[in-house]
Assembly symmetry: C2
Homo-oligomer: 227 residues x 2
C-alpha cells in the first residue's frame, strides 16, 4: 500500500472530435454542482505550484478546495499541494503537452467534486498548447514569471489572449532581470490590451491581497449565477 495522500490517474489523450462539446458538458456539470473551476497555466517553473499553495492557505478556511495536478510525469507538485490542505489528484498526461476537456472530465470524475467549492487545474507547464483547449473552466489564470522576460506576449499571443487575468510572479526579482512592467503592458497591446495584470511574489506574498480579492469576487459572481 502506498502512503501517498492522493491518487495518480493516467489520463492519456484520446482522439476527441469536438473538444468544445465536451468542455460545455464539463461546464454544465460543474455549474449544477455549484463548483468554481480555474484553469491555471504558465511556462515550466513560472511558479504555478507555489502560487497555488499560498492561494489554498488563504482560502481553505472559507472554501473546500480540490486540485488536479497535470504533469507529463512525476508527482512532486501533488505532494506539495496536498500538504497545503487541498484534496488532490495527480494526472499523468502520457506525454501530452496539455490538458483537453475529455482528460479534464476523467480527472474530475476520479477526484470527485461533491465535497468541493473550488477546483484548480494546474495545467502542464507550457505557454503554447494549453491555451488552445477549453477545459470547461470558469476562469483562465495565466502566470508569467519575471525571469522569462517582458516580451513573452509578443511570442506566445494566444495564451495572453485567452487569459482572464495575468499574474506576474517573482516580481521581487525584477531588478535582477531588468524586467519592465511598462514594456510588458506594451507587449500585451497586441494580444490583449485590456487584460488585468497583477504583479505578485508567491515567495513573499506581495500582491496576494489583490489576487485573492479578484478571485473571491469571481467565485461570488459565479455562485450567484448558479442559483
Amino acid at each position: 500500500m502506498s502512503d501517498r495522500s492522493f491518487e495518480i490517474l493516467e489520463t492519456k489523450e484520446r482522439v476527441i472530435e469536438d473538444n468544445d462539446k465536451v468542455a460545455a458538458e464539463v461546464r454544465d456539470y460543474l455549474k449544477k454542482k455549484n463548483v468554481f473551476f480555474v484553469n491555471l497555466m504558465s511556462s515550466p517553473g513560472a511558479g504555478k505550484t507555489t502560487t497555488l499553495v499560498r492561494t489554498i492557505k488563504a482560502l481553505k478556511d472559507k472554501y473546500r478546495i480540490g486540485v488536479m495536478e497535470a504533469d507529463v510525469d512525476s508527482d512532486v507538485d501533488a505532494a506539495t499541494v496536498s500538504a497545503a490542505g487541498a484534496k488532490v489528484i495527480q494526472l499523468h498526461t502520457g506525454g501530452s503537452c496539455h490538458m483537453d476537456a475529455d482528460m479534464t472530465k476523467r480527472g474530475l470524475q476520479a477526484l470527485g467534486v461533491d465535497d468541493l467549492d473550488i477546483i484548480f487545474l494546474e495545467n502542464v507547464g507550457n505557454l503554447v498548447c494549453p491555451a488552445e483547449f477549453d477545459v470547461g473552466q470558469n476562469k483562465e489564470v495565466v502566470i508569467l514569471s519575471v525571469p522569462e522576460g517582458d516580451d513573452k506576449p509578443l511570442k506566445y499571443p494566444l495564451m495572453f489572449k485567452v487569459g482572464d487575468i495575468l499574474l506576474v510572479n517573482k516580481y521581487d526579482t525584477r531588478a535582477v532581470f531588468d524586467f519592465s512592467i511598462n514594456k510588458l503592458c506594451d507587449s500585451l497591446n497586441y494580444a490583449n490590451p485590456s487584460l488585468k495584470v497583477i504583479p505578485i511574489s508567491a515567495k513573499t506574498g506581495d500582491g496576494f491581497d489583490e489576487w485573492i480579492e479578484w478571485l473571491e469576487k469571481q467565485i461570488t459572481l459565479s455562485k450567484e449565477e448558479n442559483k
Copy 2:
C-alpha cells in the same frame, strides 16, 4: 519594401506520416553540404536567444553561421540574432508548438545552406513537444534556466533524455532562487544520468569557454566524419 535584414517564412505544420524519414533526408543533405546543425531547445524565457548571440560572437570569425528562429509569432529574436552577425531566417510555425523535420527542411531551403558552416535552429520555447521531433540535427542542445527550478527533469524527462548537453543558464542568479546543481543532477538520474551539464550565464559569459570548447569539438568530429 521592408528594411528587415532577414526573411519571414510561414512554416505551418503539415501532416507528415514519417517524421523520422524526413529527418534522415535533412541529415543526409546537410552531411553532403558539410554543414553542422544544432537544435536548441528550452522553456520560454530560459535564454536561448541571449546564449545564441554570445555563441555567434565567439564563433563568427571562424565559421559562417546561419540561424533559423522558430516562433509561433513575432520576429524580435530574429532581429537580435541578425545584428549579432549571423544569416537569419524567421520561421512562423502557424500556432504549432514545435518544429518537425518537414518544417525544418522548408526552413533550410529558404535560408540557403551553401554559404554556411553551422546552422542553429532556435526551436519554439517549449519543454515538452520539441523533444518529440527529430529535425535532422547533429546535436540537441537543451537550456534550463535557474529560475525554473532544479526539479524540472523529473517533470519533463523526455527533453533531458534526448539532449546531448544541458546548459544551465542564469547561473549567476542561483542564490536568489535557492537553486542547487546537486539537486539538479539528482533529478537527472531518472531521465539521463550521464548528460553533460555546464552552468553558464549568457549575461556575464561565465561558463562559455567550456560550452564553446565542447561545441567546437563536436563540429570538428562531425566534419571529420563527413570527409
